[in-house]
């Protein structure tokens, strides 16, 4: 079964008595190639056909840059909000016992399970100036729907579980004795939390941040309903891809897609490194 070529001094895999390596790895690679790699190579090939100068012209087009800036900017702000409130929610869920904790815990996963288009129309209806939340914010001069703020709201919704679900298990593992020691040594509660606990949670929080951020950058379904879609102001990069397609401008669509793809891949590598760091600390 082992498909590994036995070359001197180089081994594809460590020896193991467990069977099925060749089969499962073969299946994995075949499936991966079929669904992910070949289509992505098609995209890369199409954008490579553009030629460097043309690609560069599209990539540095003001509207492209603005769309990328808006996508990354709003995803960043949303991820920051999620880090603050996601960590808080995780803390409340891990440390406090209260009625309905199970339900609240389950609710956190709602954005995973709720289709993004449903989230999009629901949030838009809520935050439009004649919606429940929008009409309350209107007298304060705050507009949410059809502004970049609306994009942030949608991305906060989408990204919340990523932070909570990465931070929560690590929080559960924290040894209470550390806190007791800190308290015994005279640290105030606030000092214990900020100086002792949070540094330990940092890798998990960072990972959650990166996951929420990565997801937010590419999000489409929920955002297009609530964003105003104004070029250079509230037009996200995935929407710009769709718009370029609708203009029959395939080169631009593929070029922007290729840029986003490269960034997504980079972010994943960073996330995997963060997770490795996380595991090393809490192995």
């Amino acid at each position: 079964m082992t498909a590994a070529p036995a070359r001197a001094g180089w081994r594809l895999k460590q020896p193991s008595v467990v069977p099925g390596f060749g089969l499962t790895l073969g299946l994995s690679l075949a499936w991966l190639a079929l669904i992910i790699l070949i289509p992505l190579c098609g995209l890369a090939w199409r954008s490579a056909a553009l030629g460097w100068s043309e690609f560069w012209a599209i990539a540095t087009d003001r509207r492209t840059l603005n769309a990328l800036r808006i996508s990354f900017g709003t995803a960043f702000v949303a991820a920051v909000v999620n880090v603050v409130f996601g960590t808080l929610v995780a803390w409340v869920l891990v440390r406090y016992r209260f009625f309905g904790r199970r339900i609240v815990d389950a609710m956190v996963d709602l954005p995973f399970a709720l289709p993004t288009a449903v989230a999009g129309i629901a949030l838009t209806t809520l935050y439009a100036s004649n919606g429940w939340a929008g009409s309350l914010l209107k007298p304060l001069g705050i507009k949410v729907a059809y502004t970049p703020l609306g994009i942030v709201v949608a991305l906060v919704f989408i990204g919340l579980p990523f932070v909570v679900r990465t931070v929560q298990p690590v929080m559960e593992e924290i040894d209470r004795e550390v806190e007791e020691a800190a308290a015994t040594l005279g640290a105030s509660r606030f000092q214990t939390v900020t100086r002792v606990l949070f540094p330990g949670l940092a890798p998990a929080i960072l990972t959650g941040f990166a996951l929420a951020f990565a997801r937010g950058v590419g999000e489409y379904g929920s955002v297009i309903f609530i964003a105003g879609n104004l070029p250079n102001i509230s037009e996200i990069a995935p929407l710009l891809i769709v718009i370029r397609l609708e203009e029959f401008n395939y080169p631009a669509a593929t070029a922007i897609a290729a840029i986003m793809l490269a960034i997504a891949f980079l972010m994943l590598l960073v996330i995997n490194l963060l997770q490795a760091w996380n595991r090393k600390r809490y192995g």
Partner: protein, 341 residues
């Protein structure tokens, strides 16, 4: 995988597949009409009428499938291989794009049906809040302080292109053809736009349902439909003294109907749009029928006094010239929009 729950899962999955395959009812012929956003209601009524007509005429049952979306997006789908029998889009240039990029529509498609293959026309009007609180009567009023204008993105929406060209034509008259001032007017106009939807229907929803903006630049038919849907006590239609004659054309996708053997019914489908029954439906759905004398007089309630410029006017030189000049990549709209911000 013999665990009970996997069995159950398997049975459920198998069941749903069966349900699926049973569901596709078999009709004698099926044709697909790929259309743009605001025609949903019109074609829902027309498809029924045509199916009945075809049944009476030939004894065959025909099922018409509909696909709606922004005109550009729909053309893109057909270019990428959506198997449309007929396309009924917002602009000639979207059909031209299909013809040029795929060759699946013969280049002389505009000559196939009467009136350059436009069985109905429309124009661009203003939809304003009840009582017209901002006093918007003409294109110049759109630039008044504090007026928010809702219009879709001309790069993706056919209706928005008509809006843009109508505004351009007004400015051309107003400023005696001084292009710098026309461009300034258009740029200022888009500075008043708070939401730029990708399709005409999206803009209507933004204006009527989300209550954003003071005036919606809309297809005349879309404006009347909004009155029907959201109540005439919420909005007024303002017809500006001048606008543009919008001609949404129709075409048979030649290569597709020949491959599917549906040419006869597809051509009949478009031809029947010129019949008395269809022209009546067209007027009832607030489009301007090509042959108004065939429609019911009570449906012909729109303003006829406004001055309508056509796309073939020397100012624009037809879609073949206007499309790349104004809306192409780096075209006039791109240049103006860059400055506008």
């Amino acid at each position: 995988m013999t665990k009970p729950h996997f069995k159950l899962l398997g049975a459920l999955l198998a069941g749903s597949v069966q349900l699926g395959t049973l569901g596709f009812a078999f009709a004698d012929t099926t044709i697909l009409n790929v259309s743009y956003d605001p025609t949903r209601e019109l074609y829902r009524a027309y498809d029924e009428a045509f199916a009945a007509h075809w049944k009476a005429e030939t004894g065959e049952t025909v099922t018409i499938q509909q696909s709606h979306g922004g005109s550009g997006a729909q053309a893109r789908s057909v270019i990428d291989g959506l198997n449309a029998d007929v396309v009924t889009l917002a602009l000639e240039s979207d059909i031209n794009a299909i013809a040029e990029k795929t060759g699946r529509i013969n280049p002389d498609w505009r000559t196939k049906f009467e009136n350059n293959s436009a069985p109905y026309t429309s124009t661009i009007v203003f939809l304003v809040r009840k009582g017209n609180p901002k006093g918007i009567h003409d294109w110049g009023d759109l630039l008044k302080e504090g007026v928010e204008v809702v219009t879709p993105n001309p790069k993706t929406s056919g209706g928005a292109r008509w809006n843009y060209l109508a505004a351009w034509a007004w400015a051309n008259d107003q400023y005696g053809g001084d292009e710098a001032r026309i461009r300034k007017y258009i740029g200022d106009l888009y500075r008043h736009v708070p939401v730029l939807d990708t399709g005409a229907r999206g803009s209507t929803l933004t204006f009527a349902q989300k209550e954003i903006g003071d005036v919606l630049l809309a297809w005349e038919n879309e404006a009347y439909l909004a009155l029907d849907e959201f109540g005439a006590d919420n909005f007024d239609i303002v017809v500006p003294p001048s606008s543009i004659l919008a001609e949404p054309p129709v075409a048979v996708v030649d290569a597709n109907v020949d491959a599917k053997g549906t040419r006869k019914v597809a051509e009949a489908y478009l031809q029947y749009l010129y019949s008395k029954e269809a022209q009546t439906l067209i007027a009832r759905n607030h489009y301007r029928p090509y042959k108004p004398d065939l429609a019911a007089p009570e449906d012909l309630k729109w303003e006829t006094k406004l001055k309508l410029i056509t796309i073939d006017d020397p100012l624009f030189g037809g879609w073949k010239k206007a499309q790349p000049h104004h809306f192409g990549d780096g075209g006039v709209f791109d240049q103006i929009f860059k400055q506008a911000q």
